[in-house]
């Protein structure tokens, strides 16, 4: 089966490039001076990606892991290899190891000099997370010391007694927070850890898929998925337009012991403040106890679905991008019947770890026309970000498994 898949991917690669010039993707709109090329496609349901110091690209996805190499440095991938047996979302390079994750664990493969697909055996760093259906992807970050930060998303919308059921009140205190809805730390260099070996680092995070170590600040950051369905669950308080627009996707610096407010509160973009969730006595305007939960650094629009975060420290982009944050927004479903939104890569200028200006749409045009306002019909959906050794920004897609490379050319 794996051999067959490999053959299919290689033939796509040849069909795409076949000795022709680089495939420029004009559909993806970027600021003046940047160019977008298609590096590879047809890789299935892509998720996060990582680029090694030698330029090799590693994609994690629901269809497995893929390694790609440009052997002659002409900017085109000419070796594509499926490898391993992990179907999941997370992938990071740390030292001589390729760390990957699925819904129940974090693993690593040795990266040996010259090797594209790792030949060494997979090691288990931590495994045994309960198999869940909602918010199950165990995305992760590693700090320079090898501390492993794992996002354990809450298998719930808002910790209602009956999940996603109209009028059902919140469980108080929310028992889900004991094992989910936060970031847990493990030793990234220790093998065969169990979930119980981890320590809860931060809580009140519904699903922190976009979790990233910021080297310039020596701190952890995340853009957290906000809640759904305030209108259908509490129609006396909120209407469809409220639901489509009010619950922020919250960008936070994640500190040890931090509590970011889920499920008891959400940040309301209309009121510009944090409010008590309707499941917990909220009336669409009531504030929680002052100072209990931090306000987000940036409140991004509801339902945009932040699925990856990256702090830019490459050498290719102009100075204004240094230390700023790129965020891949996978795009909404829960805004319907209002028009869907997101489906873009956003740049948030940062200085000293804090926002230093308004966010800017950096790359757009992924979704195409999106017939019937349905996410199913999005042409592409950006889901993963990585920076190459030359400073290029790579973007992965979940619809068809396309990978783009965005370079600053000044033209």
């Amino acid at each position: 089966m794996r051999t067959k898949n490999f053959a299919r991917v290689v033939s796509l690669s040849l069909a795409l490039y076949g000795g022709a010039a680089l495939a420029v993707d004009d559909a993806i709109k970027v600021p003046a001076g940047f160019s977008v090329t298609v590096v590879q496609e047809g890789l299935g349901a892509g998720r996060h990606l990582a680029v090694a110091a030698n330029g090799d690209i590693y994609l994690a996805g629901r269809d497995g892991l893929v390694a790609m190499r440009d052997t002659n440095g002409d900017g085109k991938v000419d070796q594509t290899a499926k490898f391993g047996d992990v179907q999941g979302t997370g992938v990071l390079i740390h030292g001589d190891w390729l760390y990957v994750s699925d819904d129940v664990g974090v693993y690593r493969y040795p990266l040996k000099k010259g090797e594209l697909a790792p030949s060494g055996a997979r090691q288990t760093v931590v495994s045994g997370f309960p198999k869940e259906r909602q918010h199950a992807d165990k995305t992760f970050a590693l700090d320079p010391q090898g501390t492993l930060y794992v996002n354990i998303g809450a298998p719930s919308n808002s910790c209602q007694q009956k999940d996603r059921q109209e009028g059902s009140l919140g469980q108080s205190p929310c028992p889900i927070l004991e094992k989910y809805g936060g970031v847990w730390v493990f030793d990234g260099n220790k093998l065969n850890q169990a979930p119980a070996d981890g320590r809860r680092f931060a809580t009140g995070m519904r699903n922190a898929v976009a979790l990233e170590w910021n080297s310039s600040q020596n701190a952890l950051y995340s853009v957290i998925h906000g809640r759904d369905s305030i209108d259908t669950l509490f129609p006396a308080l909120y209407n469809a337009q409220d639901n489509a627009t009010r619950q922020a996707e919250e960008f936070h610096k994640i500190v040890d012991g931090g509590d970011y407010g889920w499920p008891y509160t959400f940040f309301d973009t209309k009121l510009g403040k944090r409010v008590v969730a309707p499941e917990y006595g909220g009336d669409a305007k009531k504030s929680p106890e002052s100072g209990k939960y931090p306000n987000p650094l940036v409140a991004f629009p509801a339902h945009w679905a932040p699925n990856d975060l990256l702090f830019y420290s490459g050498k290719n982009f102009p100075a204004q991008y240094q230390d700023g944050a790129f965020i891949a927004f996978h795009g909404s479903w829960n805004r319907a019947p209002e028009p869907q939104a997101g489906y873009k890569v956003v740049f948030q200028p940062m200085k000293d770890g804090k926002p230093s200006g308004e966010y800017q749409v950096f790359a757009d045009g992924f979704a195409g026309d999106m017939a019937d306002n349905s996410p199913r019909n999005a042409r592409y959906r950006p889901v993963g970000l990585a920076v190459g050794p030359d400073g290029s920004l790579y973007v992965a897609d979940s619809q068809k498994g396309r990978i783009w490379r965005i370079q600053y050319t000044g033209k």
């Binding site: 259906r133 059921q165 017939a371 019937d372 199913r376």
Partner: protein
């Protein structure tokens, strides 16, 4: 093409909202209000589907990949009306029976809705997504509901 119609409709709704200054959109369910909100002229089936079903199953019934399943063209909307009524009232017979489902989100039960509203919704999804399958009456929903007790 349907998307174009949707955008026009959405724009009309937004324009209506703007015309009433800061007032929120009218709730989907008719509610007494001091100042009468603009009348919701959508057919009852479309209106109730939008209120209870659309955000998950989407306007075209196609669902959301990995999140909520499609209903368009499926056997539930084309098949026995009573089975469909039971499915919707129980949220797919409860999550326990659907542990192996490939999608993330569990359907909530809708037994809190009155027979008349359920009949309108079921008739709408059978007509629109079930290839014009027959309408469902409130008494058929009531008969199905009796089986739940």
């Amino acid at each position: 093409m349907r998307f174009t119609a949707f955008v026009v409709a959405a724009a009309a709704v937004l324009a209506a909202a703007c015309a009433t200054a800061a007032d929120p959109l009218p709730p989907a369910d008719p509610a007494p209000a001091a100042a009468a909100p603009p009348a919701d002229t959508r057919p009852p089936g479309q209106r109730l589907y939008a209120r209870h079903c659309l955000s998950c199953h989407q306007s075209d019934g196609g669902g959301v990949p990995n999140m909520q399943p499609p209903i368009v063209g499926g056997s539930w909307v084309r098949g026995d009306p009573k089975a469909l009524a039971l499915f919707v009232m129980t949220g797919g017979f409860g999550s326990e029976e659907r542990k192996d489902s490939a999608v993330s989100n569990v359907m909530p039960p809708f037994r809190q809705l009155p027979d008349e509203d359920l009949a309108v919704i079921l008739s709408y999804i059978r007509e629109k997504f079930g290839g014009g399958a027959s309408a469902v009456s409130a008494s058929e929903v009531a008969a199905a509901r009796a089986d739940l007790k």
